[in-house]
């Protein structure tokens, strides 16, 4: 019996001790008419060898692609040491560290992680993770609304925010009648202009969300945006790529007073793409907001001998203590990914992360240059960008991407679906994992595809 160690003698002895005739007897409190059938919809069990073969076949079927999609999930090199340590049973198969004395490994690691995140983001307090960046933003919005002195249930959200982040946030906060107001972006630069905020001056809102870099890879003018939020009595919520913070100004330093809450997806810090997860959401904030934070937090304390040690703390915010009055319903978080990120950040250090950020940015710049040399390809926006940018290819982008895919290249993310009027736009990203010849290969294939389309435009396409 897979994973069940009982011998027949064990079963007999245990039933005798219980005073039952059979295992069946142990279910005698369940109404008989509820008993279910044979689960015919579940296939018969297979031994490890057969399942291994099956999964290898499925993996081979999916294969490998030369990937230039970013859009919130980024392909970076992950040192081998990271996942070898993460999958040690002592991390992998432990529960939440409720029994602190038997969980000092996990607890100390989270404390180190919290320290790293406060330093990266320039804020005071970090929690131990949320599910992902998008649900993290939803939690940040709830937190801002709870803490807002003006009692407003409205939050201003830039049109340059990742559309999926917006969708997730909306799915959560609509249940509490919180209104998200979308701000228009400047079509030339691809960023949020202060002008777009003018009409909200003097009206109470709980927070302004600022994404840096924004979904288009473009860099927002974070200082004046943060100052504007504070001047108008609202919190500034930063949504950032943590890798970019090795290079870009920390949210805690934005404007005169710094962003109040910072969230994002930790995936670029040692977490593989893996079709979408598990990743982890991070959240940091100013000290004054610490008691409004959702999720677990680790604190340093001492033991009976006065020796330093670590425990879960500020638990009076959480569902297992406060129940209906908790700051969030979150219980299980994304601990193992935090383990990966902590080891990853330790291995790379500030200089290593900065080099990864710079190399990714340099590769993207070279790629953009090469692609923009192809007739008909132009940059969509003129604002400075970080390691990702939008190109217009003069042809329906879905079809262009399909042609690239046939050549083994994932050429980027098509924007037409989320941004009407951008049906020919592609968001592209080349991280440090790409070589010069990878970039050349993309440029050559795109040139070939586009020139063929110019010569013989597909009849379905109307310009």
């Amino acid at each position: 019996m897979p994973f069940i160690p009982h011998t027949q003698e064990d079963v007999a002895a245990m039933l005798a001790s219980i005073g039952a005739q059979s295992i069946e007897d142990l279910f005698d409190e369940i109404p008989a008419d509820l008993k279910c059938g044979g689960l015919e919809g579940v296939p018969a069990g297979e031994p490890e060898m057969a399942v291994t073969r099956l999964m290898h076949e499925r993996a081979a079927q999916d294969g490998f692609y030369l990937n230039f999609i970013g859009a919130g999930a980024y392909e970076h090199h992950i040192p081998a040491a990271v996942w070898q340590i993460v999958t040690r049973g002592e991390y992998y198969s432990a529960y939440t560290p409720y029994q602190a004395e038997a969980s000092q490994g996990t607890l100390q690691l989270i404390y180190e992680y919290q320290t790293m995140m406060t330093r990266l983001t320039g804020l005071d307090v970090s929690n131990a993770s949320l599910y992902d960046g998008a649900s993290g933003l939803a939690e940040a919005v709830l937190m801002a609304v709870r803490a807002a002195k003006n009692g407003s249930r409205r939050v201003l959200v830039p049109g340059t925010l990742h559309p999926r982040y917006r969708a997730v946030t909306q799915a959560v906060v609509k249940n509490q009648n919180i209104e998200l107001v979308e701000l228009p972006f400047d079509p030339a630069s691809g960023i949020t202009l202060l002008d777009a905020l003018k009409s909200y001056e003097g009206q109470p809102s709980a927070a302004l969300v600022i994404a840096q870099p924004n979904f288009f890879g473009a860099l927002e003018a974070v200082d004046p945006l943060t100052d504007w939020a504070h001047a108008n009595g609202m919190f500034a919520i930063a949504v950032v790529n943590p890798l970019s913070l090795a290079l870009l100004k920390a949210p805690g330093q934005w404007g005169g007073a710094g962003a109040d809450i910072c969230v994002g997806d930790g995936q670029p810090l040692g977490v593989p793409l893996a079709s979408g997860g598990p990743y982890f959401g991070f959240m940091t904030c100013k000290q004054a907001l610490a008691r409004q934070m959702p999720g677990r937090i680790v604190g340093r304390t001492v033991d009976r001998d006065g020796k330093s040690g670590f425990v879960l703390t500020l638990q009076a915010r959480e569902q297992h203590i406060r129940r209906a009055k908790a700051t969030s319903n979150i219980c299980s978080n994304q601990g193992l990914l935090v383990t990966a990120a902590t080891i990853h950040m330790s291995l790379l250090g500030a200089e290593g992360l900065k080099r990864v950020a710079l190399a990714s940015h340099a590769n993207t710049k070279v790629l953009i240059e090469k692609l923009c040399a192809i007739p008909g390809v132009t940059r969509a926006f003129n604002a400075p960008f970080f390691h990702e940018a939008v190109l217009r290819v003069g042809s329906e982008s879905g079809e262009v991407l399909r042609a690239l895919r046939a050549q083994g290249i994932l050429g980027g993310y098509a924007l037409g679906h989320d941004f009407p009027g951008m049906e020919d736009a592609i968001l592209v990203c080349a991280t440090e994992t790409k070589t010069g010849s990878d970039l050349d290969r993309y440029a050559q294939q795109l040139e070939r595809i586009l020139s063929r389309r110019r010569e013989a435009p597909p009849c379905a396409y109307k310009s």
Partner: protein, 482 residues
Amino acid sequence: MLIFEHSHAGRRAQAQAPQQAAAADDLPAELLRQEAPGLPETSELDVVRHYTRLSQKNFSIDTQFYPLGSCTMKYNPRVCNSLAMLPQFLSRHPLADADTGQGFLASMHELQEMLKEVTGMAGVSLAPMAGAQGEFAGVAMIRAYHELRGDSERSEIIVPDAAHGTNPATATMCGYTVREIPTDRQGNVDIEALKAVVGPKTAGLMLTNPSTLGVFEKTIVAIQKIVHEAGGLTYYDGANLNAILGRVRPGDMGFDVIHMNLHKTFSTPHGGGGPGAGPVGVSERLKPFLPIPYVVEDKGFYRWAEEADCPQSIGRMSAFGGNMGVLMRAYIYARLLGREGMHRVADYAALNANYLAVELNKAGFELAFPERRASHEFIVTLKKLKDETGVSAMDFAKRLLDYGYHAPTTYFPLLVPECLLIEPTETESKETLDGFVAAMKAVKQEAEADAELVKSAPHTLPAKRLDDVKAARELDLAWKAA
């Protein structure tokens, strides 16, 4: 020592970052960081040694018996990890087109179908990333259902007092008021109390079964009838699915929505706190509201259903669809077990729980519900011991650590004073259970003979009893160099 205290200016794990720092002169100076973030400066060996040593300060399933009630700490098969981490699966971008991931998507689709079968529900979405998010999706669907019908007076969710904290917290997060109802002396929902609160304001009832008291809710069909007749929907917290897998199905009992904790029943690892996966299953009437994405199959081609496919969906729970790697591990586990293995899960989980309960009872421990069968878990109350010796459930739990056993869940559910909620799971052997009984006996004797020894436990772990009060009063949440 913290990793920061191993730091030396200028040291780096050289092999692992680009050899040169590229220029970024195109970026405006006012957007750049002036000072490097204070991350550790360490060699690769420093890091490997530090985090390997830290790991050794943890208890885990791989190293200890871990009978943590409500958490289903069963063996996490290693092969599930190695196959979920095949390089093609790990390197696939979440926004890559469906035709690049048919192997992956087929696996997810089969998992959905298997979960439908074991729960008896009409539809399943894998989107929620943990139990609590599954609860959120479930209650949000209940809300969407009432709203679509214009039934806008329903503002309350009924939750038994034995429920896990995520239940009431979820109801609040979905904009509902919580109505708590008591439990009777047999550990069942108090039917009269339910009848008294149910009414036109009832949006739904959240029920955990077997309840967190470790017993099967005997009147589960009657309970639902009461709620349904009042126009409310019923929610099944399936965190304890291990107890009934292959025995009974929430769908057959008439529930409208259920979440499962795959990091319990389907043996995916807890990872020191997560990640989990909390798929939701629904009855026919809630299908249009399922969270997206979920996999649809069309003539052998698999793809994610998105907004356009399901306009009434409650929406997305995450940017990229869910905890795919966890779902992959659950799928592999399900293929290894197969249908006959699913039946065995509940059978042997119940055998182990009932055996352990009986043996502990014989050893002088008081069961909270002695006249009931244990499900996959059960409760011991140490109230008498506390009254006689001053040793609390917490003290007792800490002393068990010294014996090399992870403690059971303490102080949950809140209804039973000085409780230990004990869940052995099906993957533990009789010898392990017998060893645990012996340790429980030994601690009890210690408590009676020398209470101080137990009250000051643990004595042999990397840390002695830690000061929670100081941690909360003098907050130290991030390291600052002295």
